[in-house]
C-alpha cells in the first residue's frame, strides 16, 4: 500500500509537471489562436469594409440605390458577414443588407468621420468606414462580422487541446508509473539490504555491548579478587613474620635443650663411673663373701653360722650388682634416649632454621606478590576505564545503529519492502557499573 502511495506520489509529481506544461502550452496556444483569429477577422473585415466602401461611395454620391444594393449583395456571401448598413451623413439608413435574422439593436448605426473604426460589441465586430467622394463626407458604411467562426474554431481547439492534454496526461501517467517502478525497485532493494545490514549492525553492537558488560563484570570480579589476594598476602606476611619469630625462638630453645642434654650426658657419664666403682666393690664383696662362705664350710659345724652370714652377704652383693646392672641398663636407655633427643633437637634446629629461611622466603615472595597484585589492580583500573569508554562508544554505536535500522525500515516500508513499524527497539540506557578505582587499602 505504501509502495502504491509512493508510486502515486511519483506519478502525481510527473502528472503535475505534465499538466502544468500542457496547461501553459494550451493556454498560450488558445490565447494566441484567439488573438490571431481576431486579428485576422478584424483585418479581413477592415479590408472587405474598405473595398466595399470604395465600391459604394460613388453610387452613394450619385444616389444610385440600386447599385449600392448590388454592391452590398456582392459581399453577401462573405463569411462571417452578418450585416452591412450604409448610413448617410445625417445618420439615416440609406441601404442595408443582412445575413440571417438580427436581434434589435444588434446593428450599429454610428457615424464615424475617422478613417476606420473597429468596435467589438454584442459578439460582433463592427467596422465603421467613412464614405468620402472628392473630399465630401457622404456617410458611413458599417459592416458587422460575426465571431461565430472564431468561437467555433476556438471551441474546436479547446476540444483538441483538452484531448491532447488528456492524451499527454495519460502518457505522463504511464511514463510516471514506469519511471516510478524503475526508481522504486532499486530503492526497495537498497532499503532491504540497508535494513538487514542495519539490523545486523544493531545486533552486533548489542552483542558487543553485552560482551563489554560481561567484561566489565569480569574486571570488577577480578578487582575484588585482587583485593582479597592483597588482603591474604598481607595476612600471610604477618603470619610469616610470626612464624619467623617462633622459628628463631625454637632454634634458641632447641640449642638450650641440646646443651642441657649434653650436661645430662656428662652427669650420666659420672654416674656410670660411680656405678662401675660400686660394681667393682660389689664384685669384691661377692668374692669375699664367697671365700668367707667357703672358709665357713671348711670349718665344719662351727662355721655354719659364718657360712650363712657370708651367703647372705653374697646375696646382698649380688643384689647390689643386679641393681647396678639395672641402673646401667636404665643409664644406657637414658643415654640412647638422650642421643635420640639430641639428634631430634639437631633435626629440630635444622627444621627451625629451614622454617626461618622458608618464612623469610615467604615474606619476600609475599611482598613481591603484593606488588604484583597492586600492579594487577592498577591494570584493572586502566582496563575498567578503557572498557567504560568502549561501552560508552558501543552504546552510542548501538543507538546510531538502531536509528539507522529504524530509518532503513522506514525507507523499506516507504518503498514497500517490509512493515512500517520498526522492529529494532531503541537502545536501553543501562548504567555503566565499572568501578574505575582499585582499592589498594594495604598499600
Amino acid at each position: 500500500m505504501s509502495a502504491l502511495v509512493l508510486r502515486v506520489r511519483l506519478i502525481l509529481a510527473f502528472t503535475l509537471v505534465i499538466v502544468f506544461v500542457t496547461v501553459c502550452f494550451a493556454g498560450y496556444f488558445l490565447l494566441h489562436q484567439e488573438r490571431s483569429a481576431s486579428t485576422a477577422l478584424v483585418t479581413r473585415a477592415s479590408g472587405i469594409s474598405s473595398v466595399l466602401a470604395r465600391l459604394v461611395a460613388p453610387a452613394v454620391e450619385r444616389d444610385d440605390g440600386h447599385e449600392v444594393s448590388n454592391s452590398l449583395a456582392a459581399v453577401r456571401d462573405q463569411a462571417d458577414l452578418r450585416y452591412v448598413v450604409v448610413l448617410k451623413a445625417t445618420g439615416e439608413v440609406y441601404q442595408r443588407q443582412s445575413v440571417g435574422s438580427l436581434t434589435p439593436g444588434e446593428e450599429l448605426h454610428d457615424i464615424s468621420h475617422d478613417e476606420r473604426v473597429v468596435q467589438t460589441r454584442g459578439g460582433l465586430v463592427h467596422v465603421l468606414v467613412p464614405l468620402y467622394s472628392h473630399g465630401n463626407f457622404l456617410g458611413t458604411l458599417v459592416a458587422g462580422f460575426s465571431r461565430q467562426s472564431i468561437d467555433d474554431a476556438l471551441r474546436a481547439s479547446h476540444i483538441a487541446v483538452l484531448g491532447g492534454a488528456m492524451f499527454i496526461l495519460l502518457i505522463g501517467v504511464g511514463v510516471g508509473w514506469w519511471v516510478s517502478g524503475n526508481i522504486a525497485r532499486p530503492i526497495r532493494a537498497v532499503a532491504k539490504r540497508l535494513s538487514r545490514l542495519s539490523q545486523d549492525l544493531v545486533d552486533s553492537a548489542r552483542s558487543q555491548e553485552s560482551a563489554g558488560m560481561q567484561q566489565a563484570a569480569g574486571i570488577e570480579q577480578t578487582r575484588r579478587t585482587m583485593e582479597v589476594v592483597l588482603s591474604s598476602a598481607q595476612q600471610i606476611a604477618e603470619n610469616s613474620s610470626a612464624v619467623l619469630g617462633n622459628a628463631e625462638r625454637t632454634v634458641t630453645g632447641n640449642r638450650d635443650v641440646a646443651l642441657r642434654i649434653k650436661d645430662l650426658n656428662n652427669h650420666a657419664e659420672k654416674v656410670a663411673e660411680i656405678l662401675a666403682a660400686i660394681m667393682q666393690v660389689a664384685d669384691r664383696t661377692d668374692l669375699l663373701a664367697l671365700n668367707a662362705a667357703l672358709e665357713g664350710t671348711k670349718a665344719g659345724e662351727s662355721g655354719r653360722g659364718f657360712t650363712l652370714v657370708a651367703a647372705e652377704m653374697r646375696r646382698l652383693a649380688e643384689s647390689v650388682m643386679e641393681s647396678v646392672a639395672g641402673i646401667r641398663r636404665l643409664m644406657n636407655d637414658m643415654r640412647g634416649a638422650s642421643q635420640v633427643a639430641v639428634q631430634a633437637g639437631q633435626e629440630g634446629i635444622a627444621l627451625s632454621e629451614e622454617t626461618t629461611r622458608s618464612a623469610r622466603d615467604i615474606a619476600l615472595v609475599t611482598q613481591q606478590q603484593r606488588r604484583a597484585t597492586e600492579q594487577v589492580g592498577q591494570s584493572m583500573d586502566d582496563m575498567a576505564a578503557t572498557v567504560t569508554d568502549a561501552m560508552s562508544r558501543t552504546r552510542q554505536t548501538t543507538a546510531n545503529a538502531a536509528e539507522l535500522a529504524a530509518a532503513a525500515l522506514k525507507l523499506g516500508a516507504l518503498v514497500g519492502s517490509g512493515p512500517s513499524t520498526p522492529s529494532a527497539r531503541p537502545t536501553e540506557q543501562v548504567p555503566i557499573r565499572v568501578t574505575a578505582t582499585f582499592n589498594g587499602s594495604s598499600r
Binding site: 668374692l287 664367697l290 671365700n291 667357703l294 671348711k298 651367703a311 650388682m321
Partner: protein
C-alpha cells in the same frame, strides 16, 4: 709328671658317711653346671692378668699370681670340650678363678659363673654315665634347681690337667 704318677701322689679327701651331707661349690662353664668339693677349694678370685706359658697344653691358659704365688690357670672349657659358652643374665656372671688344691698341687680353674655353695647327700647322687668321650674326672650327677649338675673329681682333674700340661698323654 705323668698321669699315673700324679694320681698316685695326690690323695683323695676323706670319704663321708652316706647319711651326711657334703658341701659343693656350684660353677657354670659354658652351658654346663659342675660341682666341686668345697673342701678342696682354696679360694675364688677375679680372673686377672694371665701370663701365657710357652709349650703348655691348650687347656692351660698360663699362670697367674695369686697371693704372691704363681698358680697354673686351666680352662675347663677346653678340658670338657664345651663349645659355645652360654651367657648368663646374672649380674654375677663374671669370669672367676676357682683355686683348687689337692695336697701340694694347686691349680686355678676358669669358670664363667659361681652359682654358690650347696650341701648335698652324695648317697643320693646318680651314677655317672659311661662313655668313651667322657672325661675321667667327671663323677656322679645330681639335680639342682631343675638343672643336672655333674660332680668333678678334683684330684683326678688336677692330675689330668697336670698330665696334659706336660704333654704326657
Amino acid at each position: 709328671m705323668s698321669h699315673a704318677s700324679v694320681t698316685r701322689t695326690i690323695s683323695t679327701p676323706e670319704p663321708v658317711d652316706a647319711a651326711n651331707t657334703l658341701a659343693f661349690m656350684l660353677v657354670r662353664v659354658g652351658g654346663r653346671r659342675l660341682a666341686l668339693d668345697a673342701r678342696m677349694v682354696e679360694e675364688v678370685a677375679v680372673k686377672g692378668a694371665v701370663t701365657r706359658v710357652p709349650t703348655a697344653a691348650r687347656h692351660v691358659l698360663g699362670v697367674a699370681s695369686l697371693r704372691g704365688s704363681l698358680v697354673p690357670v686351666v680352662s675347663l672349657e677346653q678340658m670338657l670340650g664345651v663349645k659355645g659358652p652360654a651367657r648368663s643374665d646374672a649380674a654375677t656372671a663374671l669370669p672367676r678363678l676357682v683355686v683348687v688344691r689337692a695336697d701340694e698341687y694347686e691349680i686355678a680353674l676358669v669358670v664363667d659363673e659361681i652359682c654358690g655353695i650347696v650341701e648335698e647327700r652324695p648317697a643320693e647322687f646318680t651314677a655317672e654315665a659311661s662313655g668313651a668321650d667322657r672325661p675321667c674326672f667327671l663323677r656322679e650327677e645330681f639335680a639342682w634347681q631343675g638343672n643336672l649338675v655333674c660332680v668333678l673329681d678334683v684330684p683326678l682333674l688336677i692330675a689330668t690337667a697336670a698330665g696334659r700340661s706336660t704333654g704326657g698323654d
